[in-house]
Symmetry: C2
DNA sequence: CCCTATAAATGGAACGTTCCAATAAATCAA
DNA sequence: TTGATTTATTGGAACGTTCCATTTATAGGG
């Protein structure tokens, strides 16, 4: 049932009565061939069910047309949105992104990166897995393949990163909670081995500092960056002697978890406890109550990352500027009305 | 900054003072080479920062080690779970799955499939986009590349499909609703151009038939298979003169939408209106109220699909049996207590 | 009518691997 | 010692493309 030996450019040449070089030219859409010849060749291609062998082509050509996208957690819809943004710009450039999942596992990540390199990708967009070793990208850089980090970065790396302004986002959100009249604040979820965590927590702390929330009234609970993690964080925080009345969550998944835990306790997110998320995933808007969250323009960051990559490939460089994306606080229902009457809202 | 010409097997040979053939043998882990030689070669490989060129290798070798996974909607966490299951088995077989998203767009799907073929994938696991034309896989089959459909199938295709027992799942769920005492039932979401839809709706209708729900008391509302779609379905259904009191939803996303719409109307899912989902995504358990749903063992189906693919590759065939995965109803809170007192639950 | 310029098509070498057949070195039986 | 056997290693052809340098055909200018 399987067809005989795969058809090659030579088979087409024979079929169309031209030389292999001519076929190659047609394949590349060269203007040198006579239109009628091109038509003839294209028909032959169709007839024999030819499939182009990009591996063979890349043997001679400089660059391939595939870039690899290595994601630490595909089950987070956030990354799917990021991928969508990238695909838009790559598609226009005739480039196909291949996605691979590392499931937050550095070993798996190593394998995946190796495989993509062997496949001859023109570039790599990576959201590094937690615990990625500093040297993990040394060989790739040495090979001259451009790498861009998306959303996450490595502490001491020279690799350009595209990420939202985490610090500012956290500051804005915290400011909002304080403006709502809250005085005992929590930061929920995430763990300190992530640069992103440092940035977001940093923004939270700076806002507390600037707006007069004493250290004693700040509750910081690390935890998994998932619904489950969020639920755990809330339980931990409410068990303290002076529990917080509001929380900035590491991301939306944590925030959803917090809201679930509240409901289980018959508390209402918004009126009884204020919750702010981070990332503003599509779901935030449709939750009940709708989640106030820091919007990071995920798809936009994806586009940006793709553009940077394209530029790097073109200019054959392995260096580029970092890019910090603008953020904005999207106020919805999860922080309720103002606690004291002192302030209007700060949208 | 970018390194000089990429190192090849010949550079390593020179460095290690052996022939290229020896290097090749080492690369393939052949037992023919003397251990000390192997060590010497591996050191050279490390020293020059060599990266294996799989494209060149595939020129001579029969099969590549990558399989393509083409997904219609990466933003649905369901597919991420499917991917996770596959990755487990592929990883053990030394195969790397590359994922591409078609965003439910047949044109994009065509491009993606073409690109994967050109890349020389050993096989393709596909969840076809809505509106895929019957002939879309003709060329791929002709090229002898094995294809497996996951979750979705095409109406008249000979391509093996791995899917849950949609009919039975829908039947079970409907039976459950009826056992709970509901008599006016709805089927929400999906559209009739999907085979899956036919199957699920079929199970629903058969249960209605068998358990004595007259046609007049069945409400069928097609809609987008998303939260938004679910919200719309509920609104439509409640606007009828004799609105249903319970709904089986095409999938969990639709069910979540329905529950949201209920809350907006100050109705309680469970007590005021019963909701059953389909797929049992991770989120179903954590929702409030927790969603009763038909569990399809997503990761298990992924594993199965991967196994079938592996078998097909090994036996160089393009044919295999369909596989229908077992389903089970997971009863949680979204259908509330029994409506009438006549029956216990049917877990 | 010849020479040159342009357009279209072509053959051959090269790309980095694998694999076969062949060689070289080491071991063994007699 | 010699031939046969086993163990390690090797050169060369092949894989399917691209690209350069040619060749061939077509047209234009004087």
């Amino acid at each position: 049932m399987a067809s005989r030996a795969k058809a090659t450019i030579l088979d087409i040449a024979r079929e169309a009565g031209v030389s292999k070089s001519t076929v190659s030219l047609v394949l590349q859409g060269s203007g040198l061939i006579r239109p009628e010849t091109a038509v003839k060749v294209r028909k032959a291609i169709e007839d024999v069910g030819y499939v182009y062998n990009r591996g063979a082509a890349n043997l001679r050509k400089a660059h391939s047309n595939v870039i690899g996208m290595v994601i630490n957690d595909l089950t987070n819809p956030f990354f799917a949105e990021l991928a969508v943004g990238m695909e838009r710009v790559f598609q226009a450039a005739g480039i196909v992104p291949f996605i691979a999942n590392t499931a937050e596992n550095p070993v798996r990540q190593e394998e995946v990166l190796k495989s993509m390199m062997e496949q001859g990708v023109a570039g790599l967009i990576v959201s590094p897995a937690r615990g990625t070793t500093p040297g993990a990208f040394r060989r790739i850089e040495a090979a001259g393949v451009p790498v861009v980090f998306a959303m996450r970065r490595l502490p001491e790396s020279r690799i350009p990163a595209i990420a939202p302004d985490n610090h500012r986002g956290a500051y804005l959100a915290t400011e909002h909670l304080i403006a709502k009249g809250h005085r005992r604040l929590a930061f929920f979820g995430g763990s300190s081995d992530l640069v992103v965590y440092q940035e977001r927590l940093g923004g939270f702390l700076e806002a507390c500092e600037a707006l007069g929330i004493p250290v004693a009234d700040r509750t910081i609970v690390e935890g998994e960056t998932s619904r489950k993690g969020g639920m755990a964080c809330l339980e931990t925080a409410l068990a303290t002697s002076e529990p917080p009345t509001a929380a900035l969550c590491f991301n939306d998944a944590v925030a959803f978890g917090v809201m679930l835990a509240l409901r289980r306790r018959n508390l209402e997110a918004g009126s009884d406890f204020a919750v702010v998320g981070f990332d503003d995933v599509a779901e935030a808007e449709h939750y009940s109550p709708a989640l106030t969250s820091v919007a990071v323009d995920t798809a936009g960051l994806g586009e940006r990352a793709a553009h940077v990559m394209l530029k790097m490939i073109q200019s054959r460089t392995t260096r580029a500027e970092d890019h910090i994306g603008a953020v904005s606080l999207v106020v919805r229902e999860s922080c309720g009305q103002n606690r004291s009457s002192q302030l209007g809202d700060a949208a």
